[in-house]
Subunit: 348 residues, 2 copies
């Protein structure tokens, strides 16, 4: 890159460090130097967003900057950790100052909201892609992992599901989603997801396992079940849908079944999916269906963890059942329901 191009990049990406946030040395040396408080562990996640795979070339740069950080912070939240620092590697086909300015505005809007410090990265010329590596801290031994669920645990989510998936369907013009009105609400749900970092702080006191829903409730629940060697029941009538989604059903733009399918298989919701063990339920119930930390983060019980799968044969089954979801039983008013055979194809 030319000196002028470097200057433009520095102007937007180099920001003052905050030593109170544990940054001894930020951008401008071979490495950043970070302080982990005594008694804490470091959590680290890395996610790439590649043009043509995760977003369109003409994506709004503000929203791309926002979301490239949001998906990483969501992983930090899923560990019950506090987000602290982030590295950003960005490959740009050209230096478009307006684009960079907007990207940074979106990125730092979210970073500043949660006091996350940009501590380094790399800028290269090439096909547009973004790799963010986020780091957080959690009290030693308190991190929420995927392997802690037990039979009898409540299964909960941190907010309505399906809007992100419907937003993607609307953007991709998949199936008959052209009937859907108020489309911007669903696209916003897709592009401006809120990492549940504030709720995560509370969940470390209650949850036995946790994951963020990026690939869809069903896929991500399978990850918990696989690591915890359990099965689960999901009560569809208790899976929360947004007011915007409910209106589409009322107007007949989509069916109830299709709404459930978006909620179960749509992905891109970035709500937390977690389990609460029996001995924590009484204390946790105060959080259920109440506004825990903000108007967005409301916890809903959507089912429970059922049998433990201990034998090797059953283990084999669950590890290879990601697509068939045999470890999950979906019910509606206590009757089993097969979502795979229920018209989802209209939207594929």
């Amino acid at each position: 890159m030319s000196q002028g191009e470097f200057d433009i990049i520095h102007q937007y990406f180099d920001r003052p460090i905050d030593v109170e946030q544990g940054v001894t040395l930020g951008i401008g040396d071979d490495c950043a130097i970070l302080d982990i408080p005594d008694g804490y562990q470091l959590v680290v996640t890395t996610d790439s967003l590649v043009s043509g795979v995760h977003f369109f070339d003409d994506v709004d740069p503000y929203r791309l900057g926002y979301k490239s950080l949001a998906v990483n912070l969501s992983d930090i939240a899923a560990m019950g950790a506090e987000a602290k620092w982030v590295s950003l590697a960005i490959t740009l086909p050209s230096i478009d100052e307006h684009w960079i300015s907007e990207f940074c505005r979106g990125f730092f809007a979210l970073a500043d909201k949660y006091q996350v410090q940009l501590i380094g990265g790399d800028t290269t010329k090439g096909p547009l892609s973004i790799t963010v590596s986020a780091k957080g801290i959690v009290k030693k031994g308190q991190a929420l992992r995927r392997n802690g669920a037990q039979p009898g645990d409540l299964l909960c989510v941190s907010g309505p599901l399906g809007d992100g998936g419907l937003g993607l369907a609307v953007k991709l013009l998949i199936g008959n989603c052209d009937k859907v009105d108020n489309q911007q609400a669903f696209i916003d749900a897709l592009e401006l997801t809120e990492p549940r970092l504030l709720l995560a702080k509370q969940l470390v006191n209650f949850a036995s396992s946790c994951i963020d829903i990026s690939d869809g409730l069903s896929q991500d629940l399978i990850h918990i079940l696989e690591k915890s060697q359990c099965s689960a029941q999901v009560e569809l009538e208790n899976v929360p849908l947004s007011e915007a989604m409910k209106k589409q059903i009322q107007k007949g733009h989509i069916s109830q079944l299709q709404a459930w399918q978006f909620a179960v298989s749509g992905g891109d919701d970035y709500e937390l999916l977690f389990t609460v063990p029996a001995d924590k339920i009484a204390a946790f119930k105060q959080l259920l269906n109440t506004q825990v930390v903000s108007k967005e983060a409301v916890c809903y019980q959507i089912g429970k963890i059922t049998a433990s799968l201990a034998s090797n044969q059953q283990k084999e089954t669950i590890e290879h059942s990601a697509s068939s979801h045999r470890a999950i039983t979906f019910t509606h008013l206590k009757q089993p329901i097969n979502l795979d055979k229920a018209g989802w194809d209209h939207f594929k």
Copy 2:
């Protein structure tokens, strides 16, 4: 990606974690969980290698895997830190099992040599690019930064310079490098660089500042001078050249001046450039020109830090002199020499 593609990737990238290396949780959850020993700080660096920018599409995958890690570990070494963990985000145009196998073989050859653990990452379909984020630990307050050089400090490097730059010239067929024989030695120097992690452990006891030479001695020395507000003298007769480079001079394939130009401006050497303060020189001199930790890592004094630049005007000069190198005086047998006007163009 399809399930089959995921399986191939997991087969090569998922490796057992080593809890003795501070990894409480590795690949397979939302985040990795890492333990930083009490009294240590975390150092973090991120570097991207993009096809068509940093390497050719047909690059040998073993060497690409090796080098994508090596350049990051070199940054960890430049802080005087111990490399511990690494995340790998890789974007691949297709799943070529042989290519992935070779890439991993190169990557893990180096990772295993220094007991560096792969703790996470992301694999995506898209134009070939690799982003590595390496993490290390260093005793609190002992990290080697760029801002500690003082007038009177020795200026040293950890090995011969110029081979990487000549290797790149050979690969790119720049100028009259077709005369150069034994070309593979220079290409090896470019592609199989050794991060100076073992030397780095010793340097924390001696060095006042340190950087790794990725962009060339001149450019990287400027970074130290800029941060330390100093100027420097480089004695060209003391800048170490490899035996392979000396042979090219003896055979008349390149001139002495051209060899110096590769050493000063070529880049891609990944040796450490560091300064040693007056009160540490006596103890440090035992390391000079001796095999410190391996046959590759030998320390050479190549000059000294001279005047301190304290005034704002001088500071202004140094911050904008990266291309003209006005803060560096090059000498040969005490006579100033201007490398910019000395035939480098033959190789451009």
